[in-house]
Amino acid sequence: MVRARILLFATLRDKYGVRELEVKCDGTVRNLIENTAKAVLDKGFLGHVYDVGRNKVRDDLIFSINGRNIKDIKEQIKIKEGDTVAIFPPLAGG
């Protein structure tokens, strides 16, 4: 198991009431999100962030690992000890 730092922004932070937390996971993104859902005591977090049917992070979110957008990471993604994961729900207002 590895420990990662999770940062929630904007409406995600408002909804789940947490700005930053440390979460253990088996190195997969899905497990990281599942364990974050347990940490924020809300199962709905998984579906809010992860497209379970397509087994990937939802397309309407920006999910960055150490400052890199997960959509741009071509290599096999493995969460490592001390990684920082930031999740940004895109904003719409103007």
Binding site: D72, P90, G94
Partner: protein
């Protein structure tokens, strides 16, 4: 001419800007799409800086609940067209700027004509449907697009140069769920709109490093900025087939 130089003296003094930079601004045409919180904040600084020509697009009329953030609209302007209300004040701020007010909805039918003469397009929209329309048109006709969005005390910003860095659909392939009457502190679009004006002026003058391939997030709750790298998606339905610059 002397007065003109005096008016812009403090920005002309910026290293790399100079009188040549001021002439570039005077010759430039910026389209501000949306005269809400972002568009009003951005256009104030574009006009104050002496951008020669602005096109302001917005079909809506001013409502009382707009006034906490749409700083060019004042109580006597309620029910007036936003483009009229904004043009009037911007003209007083800098009479040498030519302003073209378009009280129209942006659609696929009129977008090419609206953007045709733009050197830069500023995103002041409040929905992804129109943002995607602007993004697609800017990619197709090769116009720089300065994206901004806000909610509550949060903002986001990126500069899109078609062919050089990702487009909006590379970064956000699907729109977030549509919500109406989003909460927003007025100063939040003020922050992001001012940053959009800075990005636009940098592009026009050719100074600094634009926010290309980077998405900047403003967290007003903690007063912090975070950025993440964003890259082109070779399979993007909008810009994927475009050659890199």
């Amino acid at each position: 001419m002397v007065n003109k130089l005096e008016r812009y003296r403090r920005q002309i003094a910026i290293p790399g800007f100079g009188q040549a930079g001021q002439h570039k601004l005077e010759a430039a045409h910026v389209v501000v799409a949306g005269m809400g919180g972002l568009g009003t904040a951005a256009s104030i600084y574009l006009v104050a800086a002496g951008v020669g020509h602005l096109t302001l697009i917005d079909a809506q009329r001013v409502e009382l609940s707009n006034l906490n953030r749409q700083v060019l609209h004042w109580p006597p302007d309620v029910k007036r067209l936003k483009t009229e209300s904004a043009t009037e004040k911007l003209h007083v701020l800098n009479p040498s700027v030519s302003i073209d007010a378009k009280a129209e909805e942006i659609t696929w039918k009129n977008i090419d004509e609206l953007l045709r003469n733009a050197d830069v397009v500023v995103d002041g929209m409040d929905n992804y449907q129109t943002r995607y329309l602007l993004n697609e048109a800017c990619v197709r006709i090769r116009k720089p697009f300065v994206h901004g969005a806000v909610e509550g005390l949060n903002g986001q910003l990126t500069t899109i140069i078609p062919g050089d860095g990702p487009c909006l659909r590379c970064i956000i392939p699907k729109p977030p769920p549509r919500k109406t009457a989003l909460p927003v502190l007025g100063a939040t679009p003020g922050v992001i709109g001012c940053l959009q004006a800075i990005e636009t002026i940098k592009l026009l003058v050719g100074i600094g490093e634009p926010l290309i391939a980077r998405m900047l997030f403003f967290d007003g709750e903690r007063t912090s900025f975070t950025e993440t790298e964003v890259h082109r998606n070779p399979k993007c339905p909008i810009c994927g087939s475009m050659a890199s610059l």
